[in-house]
Amino acid sequence: MIHFENVGLRYGMGPEILRDLTFDIPRRSFQFLTGPSGAGKTTLLRLLFLSLQPTRGIIRTFDREISAIPRDELPMLRRRIGIVFQDFRLLDHLTTYENVALPLRVRGKEESSYRADVLELLKWVGLGERINVLPPVLSGGEKQRAAIARALIDRPELLLADEPTGNVDPPMARRLLSLFLELNRLGTAVVIATHDLSLMDQVEARRMILSQGRLDIYD
């Protein structure tokens, strides 16, 4: 589904942040992306999310080389990717329900066609009682779950999550992990960037370890 070949990236004239990355993210796969702070995890997620282009190498996303994709086609490709931002990026004037429904709304869907799905997902992530609450009132963990629900709502083919359990307690982290696994069983490829070793220990999954700009993969 995603193929990186000798990908390198540098900011301006600085040193290469990522070097010679060659790997695949197969369909329906599940992997953790880990490594020390500053290793380039966020940059790699940006590359996967099409919000950055490499300074060298080739990236193929959904069988298309990203350097050849016109700007106006990017939204259509992004719709196939769900992303959980580290800082959540919820809109403060919209309720939890409206934030989660946002990806469907921007696709032009009628509210009546998705209301039941959004409510069901909100219940699933434990926010069934918080549907009409605005983000400033939500706790960090609740915001995290709302951000995850927003990324999942349109059943993306690829889910990218940056530290998705960083703001929740261990039981909720396990619950969220099981949610990602369930999604993966339904066919979504999942990449979770995390520092949380205990989280990774709960699942037998591929580990992509970034260190000094290089990537080691343990299947």
């Binding site: 540098r10 900011y11 434990g126 619950r175």
Partner: protein
């Protein structure tokens, strides 16, 4: 966590809790905020000033045009008395001669009584015209668009009535035309300046109000919204703001002219009203004035909407520019 999942307890309960109601979906762009209200106020003030200037300039132009047309609509034939001249006959001949020229419409001989009235301020009442060698006048109305040949008329008059003198008011007309043109030019200049200030203020105020919403543009863009969708959401929002502001400003300007016109109508023939009328003309806007106000409102609404569209499109373009230029990614929030 206090908000732990509750499905199991819910299932254990005999009766399900009623479904929570979802509030009516809020607009993607927040309907009211401080910058939006400030923008509306700026638009209202600029619309008021622009409409006021438009109305004032129309009034001044109309007044200048009326001065010009009133004086250039007529010419005067003056016949000086002479011992051998039959004045009444000469007056009739002069009028008939003038009317033979194409471009003349009507000729009126100023009779003795009217002549006496004209001289009354200098010579007093009860004047007997026949006792004094007073010149007599023929007033000829002409077609302003196709005036007669004045030099030919002057030559013909001189040949037939040597004491006749044709005054086409050219000196006065030229001076008034120059003054009217200058007044209209200055008025148009002021209008252009006020409109330019309005355009720039509206553009910058809209961009200022939009800058506070950049995070919304980014989130929409990253959840897969097309640029045209994001732009249309912001366009709708800013169209509402600009319509509210410009309609309020335009309405106040129209109200100002209506009240001023009403005051002028009520205080007619008073020194203040006469002075104002002489300087500015009548405070009546007419259909053109109200159309101008409506036009100004439409221009402001379009301007705000287009500025919102271009600014949003440029923001999205910048986000994509950052994508293709890794050296700029420090400006992009972390995903």
């Amino acid at each position: 966590m206090t908000d732990a999942p509750r499905e199991t307890t819910q299932e254990a309960q005999p009766a399900r809790r009623p479904e929570m109601k979802v509030r009516p979906t809020a607009p993607i762009v927040p309907p009211a905020n401080v910058s939006g209200n400030a923008l509306m106020l700026v638009i209202a003030i600029m619309a008021f000033l622009a409409c006021l200037t438009f109305g004032a300039v129309s009034m001044v132009r109309a007044t200048a045009a009326s001065w010009q047309s009133q004086i250039s609509r007529e010419i005067t034939i003056q016949i000086k008395p002479d011992d051998d001249l039959d004045m009444e006959k000469a007056l009739t001949e002069a009028r008939d001669l003038a009317l033979t020229f194409s471009g003349t419409r009507d000729g009126t001989i100023v009779d003795k009584a009217a002549t006496a009235r004209l001289l009354e301020p200098w010579l007093g009442e009860g004047l007997n015209i026949d006792e004094l060698p007073v010149p007599r006048l023929v007033i000829v109305t002409i077609d302003e668009q196709a005036p007669p040949d004045f030099s030919a008329m002057r030559a013909a008059l001189a040949e037939k009535i040597p004491t006749a003198f044709l005054d086409d008011h050219r000196t006065w007309v030229d001076r008034l035309v120059a003054m009217a043109r200058t007044t209209a030019f200055i008025g148009t200049g002021v209008l252009v300046l006020v409109f330019s200030a309005m355009v720039l203020t509206v553009i910058f105020a809209t961009r200022g109000a939009l800058s506070g919403n950049r995070h919304i543009v980014e989130v929409l863009h990253f959840v897969g919204a097309e640029a045209s969708f994001v732009a249309s959401e912001f366009q709708k929002h800013f169209l509402k703001i600009s319509l509210k502001g410009s309609v309020a400003g335009g309405f106040l300007a129209a109200l100002f002219f209506a009240v001023a016109g009403f005051w002028q109508g009520r205080s007619i023939a008073t020194p203040q009203s006469d002075q104002a009328t002489a300087l500015f003309g009548t405070f009546s806007m007419g259909a053109t004035g109200y159309l101008g106000i409506a036009g100004t409102i439409v221009v402001i609404a379009l301007l705000t909407t287009l500025t919102a569209r271009f600014t949003v499109m440029r923001t999205i373009h910048e986000i994509d520019q950052i994508r293709s230029d890794p050296s700029r990614t420090d400006q992009l929030p972390d995903p």
